[in-house]
């Protein structure tokens, strides 16, 4: 346990190599000792059945989480009683950093399916980072990247056209799947139409119609939660507000019925 074991490194690589925190560990130049310390912090693969809650609004900042298997959503319930989805968290992605600012969680995290997470007690992490400058730097970056996701959300919500929001949403999911090494052109959405609607600030029916429309226009194929991206270029153009030129109008076909 006290000997400098290169196996430790191998073990961490194996267990965390697919994980968004690898950026935190691997390029940081941590030595075997630090690595063991860091590894001891990670509580691996806790199971959470579908619908279970990892943290609630107002909970003190305890851990940050990495979806290890299955996906999660973070939500807030506004005073009028309706639920807004703040984000979806795919396997390998990090969440729970919303409490860093105030010390308390501003939203609630729910498992979208039976799932597992890795959990990192934040105080522990920060303490180690304070002794490891390179890790501190990585930690800042990770937090910043998590804020970037909020930016993307703002970007989506600022679009006035429902079609733009939906196209952008699909492209964003696709890109994130690609990043974790999954097929980016054919995938299964982990969330319901209702949850997508609450994320995009639209009515459920509008999302459904939007999907149908994209299918009619030949950009995607939809079958329930199964999505196939047929024409990424056109989808991108739609997300960009169909800016004139590269998407001829005759692409639009007459509506059925």
């Amino acid at each position: 346990m006290s000997q400098p074991i290169p196996l430790d490194l191998a073990r961490l690589r194996r267990t965390c190599s697919e994980c968004s925190l690898r950026a935190l560990c691997l390029p940081a130049g941590v030595d075997a000792d630090d690595l063991r310390r860091l590894e001891s912090v990670v509580q691996r693969r806790k199971p959470y059945p579908r619908g279970s809650v990892l943290f609630r609004v107002g909970d003190p900042l305890g851990s940050v989480y990495v979806a290890s298997e299955g996906s999660y959503k973070t939500v807030v319930v506004n005073p009028a009683g309706e639920e807004h989805v703040l984000g979806f968290h795919l396997p390998g992605e990090l969440f729970g950093l919303d409490a860093v600012g105030s010390g308390r969680h501003r939203c609630e995290a729910v498992a979208l399916s039976d799932a597992y997470v890795c959990e990192l007690p934040f105080a522990h992490l920060a303490e180690i980072a304070s002794r490891l400058p390179s890790l501190q730097h990585q930690l800042l970056r990770i937090i910043g990247q998590s804020a970037d996701l909020d930016h993307d959300h703002v970007d989506v919500l600022s679009r006035r056209q429902a079609g733009e929001r939906i196209a952008l949403f699909l492209l964003s999911i696709s890109e994130r799947l690609r990043r974790i090494g999954r097929p980016a052109d054919e995938f299964q959405l982990p969330m319901s139409r209702d949850e997508i609607a609450r994320y995009l600030g639209l009515a459920l029916e509008t999302v459904s119609r939007g999907f149908t429309r994209l299918q009619d226009d030949g950009m995607i194929e939809v079958r329930g939660r199964r999505i196939v991206i047929l024409d990424r270029h056109a989808l991108q153009a739609m997300a960009d507000g169909c800016l004139g030129g590269d998407l001829p109008p005759q692409r639009r076909q007459n509506q059925p019925g």
Copy 2:
């Protein structure tokens, strides 16, 4: 190091006491030496005439900024060529942390009026923080709080009713003015209707009509950019989606002829 120089502390307090970074310095238990080091980093009160740009999309992360006098906006131009406002930054507030995640700025910062900023080279700041655990902790908090503002923005954009967005916007500005020690019930907006609209994801005319509506309902008084909040309670109720129950209808007053 051990020589306590109260003058330095007093000077920093004076110069930065109204500034959002005071949370970074004052309660951190920094000693005189650290304080001087920190102080040397701050480049104070650079002037920026109205409309001038502090940083652009793609610029490498250089500094974080504190609006010292005057206000700023951060904006992105989407592929369709329309400008979206990501945030407004009032005197004393911090901005520019959007580049922490990727190392490059994702938006552009523009002075809303003739203005001054304090500038803190980020690398410098991070370097000092790595040697000062308490400052590191404060830095994390500051970044987290900056992400909280994005959350608030998402919250506003998720509202379906234009009236809700507008009420929420006014309350948020009011609260932030209160926090920097300015009158919270009577103030001058630093931004145009157009900029508000681009922040709220609405048309300019819708914002204007919303203001008029709030005035007709006796909640506020508007005269150009001059706002007086008359009935904060009703405004809050409107922001909350006018949820029935605790706001008796007779609270709404008849409009002044």
